[in-house]
Assembly symmetry: D2
Homo-oligomer: 354 residues x 4
């Protein structure tokens, strides 16, 4: 109820603050008998971790996951998978500059008002560090979904936008560049732009596109738990996300029905895919694709006016090592949340028929 | 689990197909002691019902709600509020043209694949008629939220777009025109455009903007159940919705942090509101505003190629009376879903502190 | 959250007060493709309804269920099954004697304190009339569980107790006598005893035993949602229930481990069944059996001292037609709740392995 | 859904096997602002831990809890409280005797059938070691419930039964004897009896009585989530529990309504308390009291016939250090589960009225 849990059958509950001893989680409802590839899990963690390239935060966090239960002789046992990720960075920091100060467009103010207390060391619970736990659970979900292919990539950084349809892009490019975009030339431009932004002590927003292929037909629960509604919630729950659109999205509002309708082929596939792989909230076997909008990171290396918890005006400036642009590191998070939703709905669909 | 239920504390479960005897629902978790204004509930139903103006479907459905429980001497008792809305239209229709045919971009195909059976009379469970139940529950939620003001309006029909910031619009215009847009001049243009589209036997998409004012500070559960994530899911669960953005939305991805950050006033309010009234998933007391993208209605009065359930190619054309543009009637649904989320999170926030 | 919903996958939500216009419910998560036998549902309703014999309440309530959705051409469609049962008795009554008076050992006082308002017409929401909805959902659950055999019977009325082990009883006797006990001779004694009690204007408690046979191995979720824990909750949620024991129950506390342990046969079955068909919270294929204790009905036809809502002492006496002993009519309710649990856990078990 | 989570608002999810690296859990929904007394938590852990007296298992497990999140400067922050308890005993053991053998009346067989894999090191997930996590969450729940007094004690060991009404017992005796019974003389008899049983290599069952005092009026959700139904489920979820009765319980079935009804005093309290502090599923302010039946521990130090996973007959004998009688160490677990339910329903009751 308090918002730290996600999924109906395949369920992740996370805990932990950015500067506590550890973060971690429990995966409940992972079916028994999944042979785990721990290297693959580790590889996903590496894609998310700080310090991986010149254009992300230079913090050093090994972000190694330790599994405590639910796995025996390399296989899931059907019992809950408990895991922890130690915080190695939590001790040395000095937080005096934010202890009594609300950082603009952070959650300091709202947490304080909601709870009456606030763990002022870094973002506390509101830190994006929590998403490391999602990557763990998502990496296992991917291993449940052997045939499903989930590919996310950066499709915009500021106004640098990858305009081609995803089917015209080369997905093998994505992991070759630090921006994680699907075009080598654009990657260079985006990288340069992010470096300029960083030099300004500023940050910039961006967009991630995600494509989910080979999804079985029939996933999605009608009415309130439509497949795209759950994907939308999953994405909007990621820090800094401001928007979600799938299939034709906002652009589709300008089309006529005669243009937008996806005409069937005889095998039930469709000639076009404005629907984005979901009709009536249920997957139809076509590619599911969607875009996720990320705002610029709120912590900037420039002086900003703000207020203290006493309501006095003050000035502050970001310290430490922060991401000038969040989207390169958010790519594996988008994929992880996608995997959580698809694995969950895939299991849930086992009870749709007698 | 099967997707017919919405809300954690204030919870609506709905049932019913478009052409069964009745649709209805149960509101669980409505607090005791709410004095109900039944006329206000009825008024919301009238805003959604078919046949209300020349630019919506001309079907005649009285859409009167009958409450069966949970209310005593005009007040809620804390027990579940059961209600039904009779389907008056369900008998006379001839469905032979869709019985064995999958309508393009409808849910016929996916329901059939998921469940192995399909109620082929109209949209069945996938019909937007289900949203009448949401309007009932939303109307009661609005009465719980005495001080909160929820205003939705049509901000685009096709490429006719209301570009002004919502604070520069006159909300009192909205219910004066059949399009439910917040500008008299634009209303005329949109109305004319919809009429042209209808004459073509076609349909057109649109956008609804919603503004929620006077929201208490502190609503929203961090991490997975952020307030905007739940609003996003609520909106994406409405039939025909393809996208959701709040605050700065997709446009915000092109801003720098120094431009996007909302600087505090001394009272904790902010000078700008790119955040859209939510920081870290929790309401900050500023206006919550968001946009919802609706695709064009799939049923068009033109011949389209499609397939039968046997996989044979055939041709079909919409019959009966359908909406050429769904957004005018979707305005009260967007408001209702907003009210459900805000009422639910308002109750949930009662347990955040000892 | 407010307690009107039962079940994880196969889920029943009920609404309705004893003297409102109707009671009813929504069954969510019933798999598609179940061919319904409506006569069998009706027959279960008849087993529960008032006025069926000389030893139960003589109220006349037809208790016919009307299905509104989720069923098409005799089969479930996977969408929610909405249903209503009209209250035919609700108009004529005079409640002035209980309007401001708290009946002893009823829920009048606690409802009033909890909610601040109370529907004083009969028991309102606390009336056992609500269990008619459980019988509807249980009757459908039984049809999902084709091979499972659920048999409940009265094993005690007051101190008249059926002492034989259930395997020595003739279950075919149960529906032949109005008490619903599994022994013709005892049936006569119990019936006579209940008549004496009624003549005294008094009521008497009793015990129901339930045996569930042919349960698949593997049902039950470890730790908090053990199969017997859910059965226990299901039974304790029935009006007037004061206790639940399964397998060896309270008597088993006096045994030694060497006496109590169930030794395996080579096929995995056990030589004894002190476990009651459940080991570690999971069904092992042996018969599940348990006992449910019912207190005497609180409404008696004798003068009792009580208080008004103002805290003044007063006297009252039950009016109308009430059950002198609740267990004969509770037999189908115990079976229904058993069916709800087993159907739910059977569906849930589909996701235990990859 | 997979049964490792308990509670609606104040929610505990646990993980861990008896012989993995650690067990632990996440408490979600603990309100912010609770000042924690860590010594009190530790004291509860000591009451449950092995090796505490001569009549319980002599295993050495320090059972120290380490909190990882959700607490800042000694106070809860409203964010999830993650914790781990290391397993110090997990390495040295030899499990070859149970690896392929199903222990009678344990969960080996049912886990293997349900999941297809089994962690054969000790009880794995089915071990009562898991209850240490419940004691942690219960100890915090007790600190939320400042005014509520929860007292459990052993009321029977085998056929040695404490027959006095709880109000005639001296609760201050309970922690003075290793059996945790509320009578010094009976304590001696029970202790001696357990020692005899242990010398026989056998085990014995028992009963725990629990009394909850000063419960606010109004806790409990009608219909399916009655307060006593949730307490019953909570107790039945504890390892080895076979039965639950509250108030008059099974004995109450032999009473007449005129004897059983609790007559009101003018202040709303009742002259008798057969109801056990709950009427219609809602607390009425009187003492809540109930009994919990525990079967004898299944592991005995005697040779027993059993089968292998291949279905061959074999013989086995318990090894290591096990409890001859589980009830002395189960007392804090019964209290912990009581505290979880009461805290949860106390929070839930905040939303019952507008």
């Amino acid at each position: 109820m308090a918002g730290n849990s996600f999924g109906k059958i395949y369920n992740l509950t996370t805990f932990g603050e950015s500067h506590g001893e550890a973060i971690g989680g429990i995966i409940e409802g992972c079916p028994a008998g999944v042979s785990l590839d721990f290297d693959a899990i580790e590889a996903e963690m590496q894609r998310r971790k700080p310090g991986q390239s010149a254009i992300v935060t230079q913090r050093k966090e090994p972000d190694s996951v330790k599994f405590l239960s639910g796995i025996f002789e390399g296989k899931t046992t059907g019992t809950p998978i408990g895991f922890v990720i130690e915080n190695t960075n939590q001790k040395s920091k000095d937080y005096s500059h934010i202890k009594d100060t609300y950082r603009p467009s952070h959650a300091d103010y709202t947490y304080d008002k909601k709870y009456g207390v606030r763990d002022y060391r870094g973002g506390g619970r509101s830190s994006a560090r929590e998403t490391a736990c999602r990557v763990v659970a998502g990496a296992i979900a991917k291993q449940i979904l052997k045939d499903v292919k989930i590919t996310a990539f950066v499709s915009a950084v500021g106004d640098l936008e990858l305009k081609a349809h995803y089917s015209d892009l080369d997905f093998s490019e994505i992991e070759k560049n630090p921006v994680r975009t699907a075009d080598a030339e654009m990657a260079k431009q985006m990288e340069d732009f992010i470096k300029v932004i960083r030099k300004q002590g500023d940050t910039i927003g961006g967009v991630i596109t995600c494509v989910i292929q080979n999804v079985p037909i029939g996933l999605g629960e009608p009415v309130f738990d439509k497949l795209h509604a759950e994907l939308g919630k999953a994405m909007l729950s990621i820090n800094a996300v401001k928007g979600f659109e799938y299939g034709s999205g906002f652009a589709g509002t300008q089309l006529k029905g005669s243009e937008h309708n996806d005409i069937f082929n005889e095998d039930g596939s469709t000639k076009t895919n404005h629907s984005g792989g979901v009709q009536g909230g249920i997957s139809n076997g076509e590619d599911i694709y969607f875009k996720v909008a990320f705002k610029p990171v709120a912590t900037i290396m420039q002086k900003q006016q703000t207020i203290t918890s006493e309501g006095d005006t003050t000035e502050m400036q970001g310290k430490g090592r922060h991401d000038p642009c969040v989207v390169p590191r958010a790519v594996p998070i988008v994929e992880a949340m996608s995997a959580l939703v698809i694995a969950d709905y895939w299991l849930l669909n086992r009870v749709s028929k007698i």
